[in-house]
């Protein structure tokens, strides 16, 4: 395609290698002015590398970059900013105890003649942009006091303040709640209407369908084509991204529920600040079924799981696993009752990142005689056990047994946790947000494992903030609101709208 002033950004034939690894192989990208352009690809496909080339963080080995039809050389982020490109990283770069205004002007401060900060003028300028783009942000609020969605808006404001015409958003929805995602999409459309161009890096198909005009797909560093979003389907995008047909609908046989594995009665749990988060929760999970808990974040899910795992004190009520009460005991006792948990925060609770993969897979089972007689630990046995799991669960790279868990990609870290938890053949598997931040292929894999475990005879408790996931995977859908189960439905007997209403505290029940 010829360089043209109709396009905000054109990147042609971009190639970038790291040693012997080719991260980008002649990738093209043509972003029309005043559009939202998505870049879709699996983890490690090269999306971020491409954007880092555009932002001047990497220099391409080959290829041309045109901005508004003009050929440019972007050597550093400063160059990129000077050319009107702004980038919002997935992990925000904000000073926690500075105010919104202070963060926005940081690095480009408004000063009096002698170099003294002119906060009054800075605030006015910030307020002006906030008004102009209709952002709901208080310029005087401290970053640590505002929500994640708000922090993201501050990052966007920062880029706008520096005069960005083209905004790159790296995985902007990864940290947001469903409501915040809706708001973000509104903001993006508003920015486009005011003449800006937006590039979003993502692997979430639904958001592309909702927000983007065009979508460029990259697979393993190769350009797979650009599609008009209005003329495509989620399925087509997914198969282009993964390179094979992906089952977006979860395939499973009917559940064959047996005896009750988990029985929760009248559970009351308070959080760390003493506020009651679980307020009289009742729930049954039987072997051979998946019970999914749908709910908005902060409705007691976290405390509920902590109570099951023996990490939070239960004020009243009971939690029984196969008839034996386990509330207010210790985590070891819960594990001994064959309860396994895939935690929501995999880096904080799931893994010891500076441990190797081999050391991580025995975190809960290192005491067993199979891994060494008496007090000693037999690393030969540990490694061969780990290698078995690496093979079975296709954890990559295949020779990662002695690599640090912190060096694996997010999807593979999650596979390590799931492999460990499932390898103990639990009676009850609690999976909290098991697919958060994973790409389509990995999500499919996790769901398959959950269903396989169900069919093996485990009881599965799935807790997810993604309503779609609960609706698709769970045999029984339980809605949580204010620490209580406010409705329980068999799969297929309830619509997404009804569940959504209950989640928000409305509805008949």
């Amino acid at each position: 395609m010829e360089a043209s002033s109709d396009y905000a950004v054109q990147m042609h034939g971009i190639t970038k290698t790291f040693g012997s690894f080719t991260a980008l192989d002649s990738v093209d990208l043509d972003v029309k002015k005043q559009t939202v352009h998505a870049i879709l690809g699996e983890n490690g496909a090269g999306k971020s590398t491409l954007m880092n080339v555009l932002y001047g963080l990497y220099q391409a080995d080959a290829g041309e970059v045109y901005l508004g039809g003009q050929s440019v050389q972007i050597q550093s982020p400063l160059d990129a900013i000077a050319h009107g490109i702004g980038m919002v990283h997935q992990h925000f770069m904000l000073v926690e105890n500075f105010t919104v205004t202070e963060n926005i002007i940081l690095g480009d401060e408004v000063c009096h003649s002698l170099g003294v900060l002119d906060m009054a003028r800075a605030k006015k300028e910030v307020e002006k942009i906030v008004r102009e783009y209709g952002f709901d942000v208080d310029p005087d609020a401290k970053i640590e006091d505002i929500t994640v969605g708000m922090q993201q808006r501050v990052e966007i404001l920062k880029a706008l303040y520096r005069g960005a015409d083209t905004l790159i958003l790296d995985e902007p929805t990864a940290v947001l709640t469903p409501q915040e995602i809706t708001q973000l999409i509104k903001i993006m459309r508003g920015l486009v209407a005011r003449g800006k161009t937006i590039i979003i890096i993502t692997h979430k198909l639904k958001e592309i369908m909702e927000s983007a005009d065009a979508c460029t797909i990259i697979r393993r560093g190769k350009y797979m084509g650009t599609v008009d979003v209005s003329k495509t389907t989620e399925g087509e995008l997914a198969s282009k991204m993964v390179g094979r047909r992906v089952n977006l609908t979860v395939e499973k046989g009917p559940a064959k529920p047996g005896e009750t594995a988990l029985s929760v009665r009248g559970l009351h749990v308070r959080d760390g600040r003493g506020i009651e988060q679980v307020c009289g929760l009742d729930l049954d999970v039987r072997v051979g079924e998946i019970v999914g808990i749908a709910g908005i974040e902060g409705n007691g899910q976290e405390e509920f799981v902590q109570a099951i795992d023996g990490l939070a004190k239960v004020d009243s009520g009971t939690i029984s696993v196969k008839g034996e009460e386990i509330q207010n005991t210790i985590p070891r006792n819960v594990l001994d009752h064959k309860v396994a948990t895939v935690p929501a925060d995999r880096q904080r609770f799931g893994l010891v990142l500076p441990f190797t993969v081999a050391e991580n897979v025995i975190l809960e089972r290192h005491g067993e005689e199979t891994f060494g007689k008496g007090a000693t630990l037999d690393y030969g046995k540990v490694r061969s056990f780990a290698n078995g799991l690496i093979k079975e669960y296709d954890i990559r790279p295949a020779d990662c047994v002695d690599s640090l868990a912190g060096g694996l990609s997010g999807g593979n870290q999650q596979k390590v946790i799931i492999a460990r938890e499932v390898s103990s053949k639990p009676d009850l598997l609690v999976a909290v947000q098991p697919t958060r931040g994973l790409d389509v292929g990995a999500i499919e894999f996790v769901h398959k494992v959950l269903i396989r475990e169900r069919d093996r005879g485990a009881a599965i408790l799935l807790i997810s903030l993604e309503l779609d996931e609960v609706m698709d995977v769970a045999d029984t859908i339980a809605v949580i609101h204010h620490g209580k189960i406010v409705g329980t439905f068999k799969q297929g007997t309830v619509s997404e709208e009804e569940v959504g209403l209950l989640m928000a505290g409305g509805g008949k029940q």
């Binding site: 190639t15 790291f18 012997s20 192989d25 590398t49 080995d61 594990l335 010891v352």
Partner: protein, 436 residues
């Protein structure tokens, strides 16, 4: 060859050696600016360390408590605890060993274990209390252990003042009973018979008679290996490392975090107490004296642990170096007239550079990156001069690129791409880190 440089720079020991060299460099600058000849001063330092067999033995004797305290601190650090109370635990070890050694008089086979164990237990109990306060109430171990250092110091002075132990007209206590001594042939070497036998072996006589030769160093080396093994090869060690690296994940996985914290402090304190006890049984005056200030065996143990990068076995060379510097430093003062504080400056610089431990591996990264960049530039130049169109259409790109890179492989590019190959996986991670 280039690969080797990078590999060597990545090794933790390289950081230690570079830190030591920088320490010497800084000391040389200070010496020179104060008007002393750095070369001659260092010569005096080394001859004071290893100039005679007796010096070497003295260095080893001095290194023993530093080594044990160093292992104690390093061990706690691996479990995420900063045991700054090594000094106090060392003092408690000396106090308990002295009390037991003076009050009990049993045959050596019973007396030695009893005295040494009592010192170890005293240190361990102090550690246990610090650990328990941390585990139960979340009181930071640095605060409590600093307090315990002073409590131990004044407890020591109180014990010295007691009539039962105080040796009249001195500032110290009586010596412990002879059966408690862990010296090598303490009586024989001074007897007429021993002297006669040693007369033909001047070196051995020099070492045996003029030094407090004792078995402490053997115990300390065995302990270093044992603790290294405990951390790496046992279930308890595994649990402790997990607690040290990620408390939340450890608790989630059913590991009793509190128990491990207390146990770790028990062992750490016990090792420091053992250091104290072995100094009582091993070297003169075999008792405690009124302390006006800390003797710094425990605090120097902190430095030893950090020079060793908190590896228990690494503490062995670190302790020897440290003891050598302190002991040899006296010679610098005697022969050169240069203040021995120079040694403190040197040690301080070494510890400081060790604290900057991340710098050396970073240097390796930097060399690697600049090499990769140079290789890329070479490739680019070759591509521009050569035949390959840079922005080839996607379909043909594979074939043309292969020929392009083949044309580009000037010898430098080839050599450097090999260098980067081994770490290609790291680069990959870096490249796509943002995507996750």
């Amino acid at each position: 060859m280039n690969n080797t440089v990078i590999k060597v720079l990545r090794k933790p020991i390289t950081s230690a050696i570079v830190a030591i060299l920088i320490g010497f460099l800084v000391a040389a600058i200070v010496l020179a600016s104060a008007g002393y000849d750095p070369g001659a001063s260092f010569a005096a330092l080394f001859s004071g360390m290893v100039g005679r067999p007796r010096y070497i033995v003295n260095v080893i004797i001095k290194a023993t408590p530093l080594l044990l305290c160093g292992i104690g601190v390093a061990f706690a650090f691996k479990v995420g605890l900063f045991n700054i109370g090594a000094e106090g635990q060392y003092i408690l070890g000396t106090v308990a060993a002295t009390i037991v050694g003076i009050t009990c008089d049993l045959p050596a086979v019973l007396e030695i274990p009893l005295v040494v164990l009592s010192g170890t237990i005293a240190g361990a109990l102090s550690g246990a209390l610090i650990g328990w306060l941390k585990a139960k109430f979340g009181i930071h171990e640095v605060i409590t252990s600093i307090m315990f250092n002073w409590i131990s110091l004044y407890l020591c002075n109180y014990v010295v003042s007691l009539d039962a132990f105080h040796q009249p007209n001195t500032t110290g206590t009586y010596a412990v009973h002879e059966s408690a001594l862990t010296m090598i042939l303490p009586n024989w070497k001074l007897s007429a018979e021993g002297q006669a036998a040693l007369a033909n072996f001047p070196v051995l006589r020099d070492v045996l008679v003029r030094c407090d030769v004792n078995v402490g160093i053997i115990v300390a080396v065995v302990v270093a290996i044992l603790i290294g093994w405990l951390l790496k090869r046992t279930k308890v060690g595994y649990e402790m490392r997990a607690v040290g690296l990620n408390k939340d994940a450890a608790r989630f996985a059913g590991i009793n975090v509190e128990k491990n914290i207390v146990l770790c402090m028990v062992i750490s304190g016990g090792l420091c107490g053992l250091a104290g006890a072995l100094n009582i049984t091993g070297i003169l005056p075999h008792g405690i004296s009124t302390l006006a200030a800390f003797e710094n065996n425990g605090f120097n143990g902190l430095s030893v642990a950090f020079i060793a990068g908190c590896s228990p076995v690494g503490c062995i060379p670190a302790a020897l170096l440290f003891a050598g510097l302190i002991y040899g430093g006296q010679t610098v003062q005697q022969t050169m007239g240069a203040p021995s504080e120079i040694i403190s400056i040197m040690i301080g610089t070494i510890v400081f550079c060790m604290a900057l431990g991340g710098v050396i591996p970073m240097l390796a990264e930097h060399i690697q990156r600049s090499r990769a960049e140079r290789a890329e530039q070479a490739r680019k130049l070759a591509a521009e001069a050569g035949t390959t169109p840079v922005a080839a259409p996607a379909g043909e790109s594979d074939a043309s690129r292969t020929s392009g890179s083949a044309g580009a492989s000037s010898s430098e590019a080839e050599a450097s791409s090999k260098t980067t190959e081994s770490n290609g996986s790291n680069d990959k991670k870096g490249a796509d880190g943002d995507a996750r």
